[in-house]
Symmetry: C2
Subunit: 342 residues, 2 copies
Amino acid sequence: MVDDRKLKILRVIIDDFIRTAQPVGSRTLAKKYGLGISSATIRNEMADLEELGFLLQPHTSAGRVPSEEGYRLYVDSLMQDYDLDIKQQDLIRKLLLHRVIEIDDVIHQAAKIMADMTGLVSLISLPQFKKSKLENMKLIKISDSKVMLILVSSSGIVKNLTLAMSDIQQRVLDMISDTLLSKLHGTPIEDITPKAIHNIKQELPEYADLIEYLVPLLRDTLREIDDVDVQVEGINNIFNYVEYQEVAKVKDVYEKLTSKDFLSKVINTRPMNSEVSIGIGKNNSLPEMPECSIVSSFYNFNGKQAGSLCFIGPTRMDYSLTVSVMGYIKETLEGIFSGIYL
Amino acid sequence: MVDDRKLKILRVIIDDFIRTAQPVGSRTLAKKYGLGISSATIRNEMADLEELGFLLQPHTSAGRVPSEEGYRLYVDSLMQDYDLDIKQQDLIRKLLLHRVIEIDDVIHQAAKIMADMTGLVSLISLPQFKKSKLENMKLIKISDSKVMLILVSSSGIVKNLTLAMSDIQQRVLDMISDTLLSKLHGTPIEDITPKAIHNIKQELPEYADLIEYLVPLLRDTLREIDDVDVQVEGINNIFNYVEYQEVAKVKDVYEKLTSKDFLSKVINTRPMNSEVSIGIGKNNSLPEMPECSIVSSFYNFNGKQAGSLCFIGPTRMDYSLTVSVMGYIKETLEGIFSGIYL
DNA sequence: AATTAGCACTCTATTATTTAGAGTGCTAAA
DNA sequence: TTTAGCACTCTAAATAATAGAGTGCTAATT
């Protein structure tokens, strides 16, 4: 039914369409690629492929266009592996290793590289700060009225927040933060609730007032830290998609891609069970963007899935390149995290 | 030559064009606004105004459109002051006062409000960190391999950077940062050069190695701090300008508005000598955007011009509203800085 | 002298029409 | 089973027709 020749034709059609964004016709196909068969034969095969649901015809006298099912088959078993050449690999590694101090920077840089190399929109989520454990905590007086709170998670993420506070001696702040840290070290950050802090008040009765004052501040600041921390890059690429010719469409996706809620949703609806997962068109689990495909994966950190890597682009994206770039970024990131970093 | 009636007609034409973006014809003008004169008279006046250079005709059988000279006259002496009503003022103040802890946050919020209220792109530059004086400095050990450097400027801006560093005791870091601070307190941050730090090495001969190690790190990190720190908001508004119907145009301005270099240039080419300065079209001193107008002003901080406020939008913007919003934001910002803050 | 009604004229934007070309499906021959 | 051939279809581009908004000028009016 779907013999090798049909598959080969399907592959060539999709390859061509990914490149040109134009419906592919039997004539051009026969001429452009040396398939050794005539356009009439191709026409017959195409008709079959359409009947099987892998191709679509925008209108009777147009060429064929891959259907979502066609893309599915393509990514699952047709497309050829794309190999990043050594130069590209070196460049990526060099860019990522350039300044490995803060995990945020590395992630940010990774997202940039992903977007640049594919021309797509890229997303990376950071290890969830709130889910990780408290490793270190400092209260630093930086002026008469301000104190900086520094929180370090076990995953090495550093967050710092400025609190307004009346004049307190650093000595006192040290005492408070040391006590808090000794009690809270190893606690998941999301569990650091006002109540938990409240209980510690007894430890330092002489500073009860201060701690009392700190409680709501801490609660507010912790609440402000996003549930999912996502970096987007390559939003500028949406201007190049031939799929978005009208400003209204570009506006629409732009608004989505700059909305934290939407980005969190993208990350949260991705399956976490396979190596690289590809959601195509209406099956991308994002009803808001039924014309896009999403390629996603994740990276490990300390042996646990720590964050997601994600590409968003038109269904007509270069899946082969995309998967390959994602794989290499994932690998390199994990290398950085496990080795040099921490 | 340019009698009152002509000016009145010009004002009405520009008001109308700002609202509708459509060339204004004599008929509609006479009907819509009760000017008490016939369309024929208006036609004559319009012809004169065109000859004087204040109006343009896209083509013979179209209405008139303001020329840049027309806008110039309009903003200089024709437009009516827009008064923000009490409700709007209250809202702005409340939003700005909501969480006055970090100067960055306030500025950021101000830019957002500016963009939201006008539908334009807004820019605010922060007080130049490098030009301000060093007020406080801390080195905080946050893990075995990382140290956080906190710099506080006299203008109250806090910058913090993470440095990779082998295991050092906090006591040692304190000693180093205390010594550095005692020597550098009050020094403009841009003058904190490797050489300056180098000289201090003599003070702490026992930690000479460490300081030696710190020097290049500090140099690099200080260099990374931008020369001009600019917040942009309202980029999403460019999708709504009827002037940008083609994706290519939107792409072009988007790329400019997301380029730090360009934004710095915008800020740097603004005149600092008048209260509110309005650059219209080709005279906006930005050859890259000859179709835009720029409205700019600045805010004072400790009696000095500290940063710029800026609107970028089509020449057909609501100058009246724009100027008014800018004035109120400037006032409120200065109030916050001088009073509650610091 | 200034204003205005009237009208011919101009130009664009919209709609309708034609045309060229790419592509298909089917039939019959190889 | 493959392929050449051909009539047919449909779109996109080019061309033509139409409606309408607006002007400038002239002559009448205030």
